[in-house]
Amino acid sequence: MISGYLITILITVIIYAMLAHSLNIITGHAGQISLGHAAFFGIGAYTSAMLYTEAGFPFWISVPLAAVVAGMVGALLAIPCLRVRDDFLAITTMGINFVVEAIFLYIPFFGGAMGIGGINLPKWFGREMTKPEYFILILIVFFLLLLLDRQMGRSWIGLAWASIREDDQASEAMGVDVIRFKVLAFILGSAIAGLAGGFYAHFLTFIMPQNFGFGQSIVVLCMVVFGGIGTRWGPIVGAVILGILPEISRPIMEYRILIYGVLLLAMMRFQPGGLLGPESILPKTFRRYVYLLSSSE
């Protein structure tokens, strides 16, 4: 039997992986930098928590609704974001994060600094899910999301995102409706972040505004950049490595943000594409290894 500690880490990591994946849609695929992604993670967590504790909705309804609400707010907040790009977009999204966190913190309706408690793991077959079962549930959902991501990547929508990421003015001249596809990326990315937030709330059973602050946004961005921005597996690898590191070593936990910052700087300098990026040494070495193996036969 897997220990409770291990399963806790596994669930945390997979939720981070889902969150990193959702940011990758906005920042990696469509090329729109976001420094406030934790806001949508929080909107999902709070929506699901409020629906569950206040309105008495079951998990199976509150969590999908969390995704819907986060996606809708994402669409709404995409409007100011469409007017700016690059550095200004970074600042705008950062601002959104602060505003959302402040709303959770200062509006009593959302529980203020005390947060919301009494959220439970989902029930099925008349009993509460065990943690391993919960992990498998998230794993299945995440797997489906990755299938969707693969389909999107090969589709005309994925191609439109790629062209916007490369050069949005040139892609307009190619008939690409830039606004529509940017909004679509924000909706999809925010909705999946909201879904991750719902899973997170029901796992932690207790949420506070601080869980969804600017620091959290940076942690997720680090995972995406570290693993390989724009690649399908990079953000997941990033989430697994950076998610597990603080758990296995106490000092890393204490200096987590510092270490992430140093890592991020080092990546920017030596491996701007991330661990799994197109020009990274890792896939290159792997390919060379495979080549050597196949040619020696």
């Binding site: 090969r154 589709s155 191609l159 190619m174 008939g175 197109p278």
Partner: protein, 248 residues
Amino acid sequence: MALLEVTALSKEFDGLRALDEVSLTSEEGEILGIIGPNGAGKTTLFNLISGIYPSSGGEISFRGKSILNLKPHQISRLGIGRTFQIVRPFQNLDVETNVLVAFGHRFYPSFWKSIEPFRQPEILKEVKTLVEKTGLLPYTKQVAKNLPLGFKKRLEIARALALRPRLLLLDEPSAGLRFEESAQLMDLIRQVRDQGIGVLLIEHNMHVVMDLCQRIVVLDHGSKIAEGSPEGIRSNSLVIQAYLGKET
């Protein structure tokens, strides 16, 4: 009916008049040259026609319909393709994928079609034809940023042709190219014209302009100062003044 009709088009940037009541028409299967000294408003004119800037006055109509208030992506879908003065291919995509982007608008309207894979045999065949025509076939799988400038320019033309345009706006296609590269590009532009596509050509190389264009419009300080055949333009005293200054 002219293919493109620009009437008294003006553009002001914070009080600076970049384009001042410029009128011109362009026909199918004709290469119209647009020349003028630096800062004359040539690229501004292109940016207005392709919808990147809103105009400050005047009218632009394409095939009899006003395109003045349309967005760039709507204008390109109507059949106005363009290239950029400083080349803007999608640098990290390969040649084939660059051209594929321009096919997307046929699929966007339906959600189910837009999540179909973009590599479809019939479309790839069309892409191949375009890539072959622009002489890029050996580089189909090359990433755009690794191509030399001349090929990047051809890639931009291939991409614009993928829109099935009726009008092509070319912004200094021969700038920065060697003589042979430029000559090949001119051949390509002639082929495009012979298909019945109208071409608006901004060009500094007089040899190229005089050789290619049936008609030439000359801009200076945002105004049209002359229009006519290459021979007429060559001997026009206003044009000579704009380029060389006034004789004192």
